[in-house]
Subunit: 307 residues, 2 copies
């Protein structure tokens, strides 16, 4: 990606940070005319929504100073909002839990926060509400550096073939400079598959990560004895977790189960990651031939695997 683009993205993120800071700031220190400060409210929230947490747990989650947190907890206890139960396993810590009074206070806080959000949502048309929440979930998923959930493989669903065409077209254009004819070829393969595939001997797998497609592969009939592997792709978002290997593995297992004697595939020399995946899976390079396609000078390769 070019530097100007990168700077533009950074500027966009910073603009958003400023924007959302004031958006959140409207809630202000004493939020929603409750008797709690923002920090207090967040601590109360954590106590209410965790299973007898310790102060430490909350401190880590919220990034609060331990001393400050300790005082907040003490104040809550004095006010009769929480109880501290000794933890026999470790007598330095306490298990924090709400009292009936605390639950009441939290419920009130929770309700007004709920209502406040409901009000802002109410003025948006339905489609916008959906877009808003989708965008928020997207940001949360992208920025929470929790290890990405493992990708799963599944059957294609409506729209998935289109996704295959789109991602091939966009990715090969940006990474290798392929022109539109390549996307056309992929669309043709997808069309043929959708139009007349033999479910008993042909199949497609979509790799999914957090609800978005990140990879694909097809196994189709080349002849009665020979299967052909096509359209193997792993989106950058799904790379580095052996997805390519898994996709190819599914194909090989399925081909074996179908009674094919051989799998063949066509790829390009420049697609080094894919080549490596094929090699590791047991494919062997059997032919290699330069050609000019998709606006590029390429070296096409045929790989095969006996089953």
């Amino acid at each position: 990606m070019s530097q100007p683009d990168r700077d533009g993205q950074i500027a966009a993120v910073r603009a958003f940070n400023r924007f959302y800071t004031s958006k959140l700031g409207v809630l202000g220190q004493h939020l929603l005319k409750s008797p709690f400060s923002l920090s207090e409210a967040r601590v109360l929230y954590e106590i209410a929504n965790r299973d007898s947490p310790s102060a430490k747990e909350i401190g880590i989650e919220l990034g609060l100073d331990p001393g400050y947190l300790s005082r907040i907890v003490q104040k809550f206890e004095q006010d009769g909002l929480i109880l501290r139960k000794e933890l026999p396993a470790d007598r330095r810590q306490y298990q924090l839990g709400l009292t009936a009074k605390g639950r009441l206070a939290f419920a009130k806080l929770d309700r007004s926060s709920h209502n406040e959000v409901a009000e802002t949502l109410a003025i948006l048309p339905q489609g916008d509400r959906e877009r808003l929440t989708r965008a928020m979930v997207t940001i949360e998923r992208l920025l929470s550096n929790t290890a990405p959930a493992a990708a799963s493989l599944r059957e294609p669903r409506p729209g998935d073939m289109g996704w295959v065409v789109q991602s091939h077209g966009a990715l090969y254009a940006s990474e290798y400079g392929f022109d539109a004819s390549f996307e056309g070829l992929v669309a043709e393969i997808a069309a043929k598959f959708l139009g007349s595939f033999d479910a008993s001997r042909e199949r497609c797998w979509i790799a999914e990560l957090d609800g978005t497609q990140v990879g694909s592969v097809f196994l189709v009939k080349h002849s009665d004895d020979v299967a052909k592997l096509r359209l193997l792709l792993v989106d950058p978002a799904g790379r580095g977790q052996g997805l390519g290997r898994r996709l190819v593995g599914e194909c090989v297992a399925f081909a074996r189960a179908c009674g094919y004697r051989k799998i063949t595939l066509w790829t390009q020399s420049i697609l080094t990651a894919a080549r490596k995946t094929y090699q590791d899976a047991g494919f062997v390079l059997v032919a290699s031939e330069p050609h000019r396609s998709f606006g590029q000078s390429l070296i096409g390769e045929t790989w095969e695997m006996k089953l």
Copy 2:
């Protein structure tokens, strides 16, 4: 929308608010080991990015207490970061502007903020970075009650044909229960177009909103005298702003410019929004015939327009 869904959306927004609060909170009081508090930094930012603003202007923008703001401004002046110039028109106010020293301080702050964002972006794959910024722009636009950005029409880019296939497949499946064969048909049309379209007499338009595709239409050659309009689609995200009309309008204008004598198109009786668009554009229903396709019993319609 059902109440449970609405509650789910509210919960999603609240979860995001909590999430982003701590995300921003990492910056904390004294952000980026600068000598400025968050409020001070934001005031400095406003002074740097506005044209000699008054204190009042900034106070409104940031929602700060005037007294507090006044002290921040005084401190900045004492530290030699800003100059206050009297405004002859109103001697209660001052025009605030950075000194050389102030510009330096701001540049430093700006740079470290830039770098910090750059770091978080760096660990994301390219596609995710784009998704992130798009999502942020979306939220900003939806929550600042400015008029929604108008969609724009453009030429297709790599991946767009795939998007057309995907959105047709997914949308018609969910809204009308069409089966996979429909997506196959769309893929076939897209493949044919990409493989061999005559740029002088055939064309495709993509409607874009906030950097995402929200609509499409194709005009292709049916015979030397007759053009065919195909694959008109407006995604739910782009509805309600006359996009369908604009897309069809482009087609008609282009067909005229190419010297076609007639435009024809095939649609289904159940697609009421599209039918209305065609009718409004001047198309006339010339034939109607029941058929069974895409797993549904439909009534296909042929519409025409003389040019």
